[in-house]
């Protein structure tokens, strides 16, 4: 398979994740959609790494994975904290920081 296929698939997955963030309300599903977008980016990085024939792009993908894990941990911690304070788990209701 040529690199084009992988890159177009990655664009499709990224668009799907972005669509999910626009549609869904639950912060948990929005975190999952963020994962989708980060993974699409990873796929593009690995595909380009194969296209150039250089392993350094894969290191980049591993670092992206680490950052995604950190983001998930902090996000889920926030969700648990919101749940403990009996606030609604809905991004449209949690808009107090908007001023």
């Amino acid at each position: 398979m040529t690199t084009e296929w992988f890159v177009v698939l990655s664009a499709l997955l990224f668009a799907t994740g972005a669509m999910g963030i626009l549609i869904r309300r639950s912060p948990m599903v929005i975190l999952l959609c963020l994962e989708l977008m980060l993974n699409a980016g990873n796929l593009a990085l690995v595909a380009f790494s194969r296209m150039v024939g250089n392993g350094q792009g894969q290191v980049f993908a591993v670092i992206v994975m680490v950052v995604a894990a950190c983001e998930v941990v902090v996000g889920l911690g926030l969700i648990v904290a919101i749940f403990r304070r009996r606030l609604p788990l809905n991004v449209d209701d949690l808009r107090e920081l908007r001023g």
């Binding site: 398979m1 040529t2 690199t3 084009e4 296929w5 992988f6 890159v7 177009v8 698939l9 664009a11 499709l12 997955l13 990224f14 668009a15 799907t16 972005a18 669509m19 626009l22 549609i23 869904r24 309300r25 639950s26 948990m28 599903v29 999952l32 959609c33 994962e35 989708l36 993974n39 796929l43 690995v46 790494s49 194969r50 296209m51 150039v52 024939g53 392993g55 350094q56 894969q58 290191v59 591993v62 670092i63 994975m65 680490v66 950052v67 995604a68 894990a69 950190c70 941990v73 902090v74 889920l76 911690g77 926030l78 969700i79 648990v80 904290a81 749940f83 403990r84 788990l89 449209d92």
Partner: protein, 173 residues
């Protein structure tokens, strides 16, 4: 053979992604994401990056998804209200998503990267295996590697501070 594997994995990845945004229950969304991650791992294997594929399965499908399952079980999957703060949001969002996909595809396919239409150069046998990635991580990319470990530590501490039950502790004192 390679084409068949690519299309099966691509269908799995796309189906998983659509499942994440279509399922009403967050628990099923998490399960769909696990399908997506496994398909993506086989795509990484097709691109001869064995270490990234293994890390994808072990770290994502293994560790991160277990965390998700626990939090979903703790919080509970409440249904979402049909109320839309922006009128027509659910109609508009897919259109914007398709527009984003078309834009990205045009941007990539009309670029002047000559190697895009090729399979990439022939790589040596050890390309992308743990030894090669480990050598890169510990020699050339040592500073990003250490920065990533500090970031992981900070995130773990931050999550404990965020999710700890401070109010009850104060009452107990």
């Amino acid at each position: 053979m390679e084409e068949v594997l690519f299309f099966v994995s691509a269908l799995g990845a796309l189906g998983g992604a659509l499942g994440v945004i279509a399922m009403r229950n967050p628990f099923y969304s998490v399960l769909a994401l696990i399908v997506h991650l496994f398909s993506l791992a086989s795509l990484f294997l097709l691109l001869t990056s064995a270490f990234v594929a293994a890390a994808q399965v072990v770290v994502y499908a293994g560790a991160v998804m277990v965390l998700y399952v626990f939090v979903v079980a703790y919080v509970g999957g409440g249904g979402e209200s049909a109320w839309e703060p922006i009128p027509g949001q659910r109609l508009l969002a897919p259109l914007l998503g398709i527009a984003l996909f078309v834009e990205l595809s045009i941007a990539v396919l009309s670029s002047s990267l000559l190697a895009l239409g090729t399979d990439g150069p022939d790589v040596p046998a050890g390309f992308g295996d743990p030894a090669a990635i480990g050598r890169l991580l510990l020699e050339k990319f040592l500073v990003p590697f250490e920065a990533a470990s500090i970031l992981l530590l900070l995130a773990a501490v931050g999550a404990i501070v965020l999710a700890s039950n401070r109010r009850e502790n104060e009452e107990a004192r």
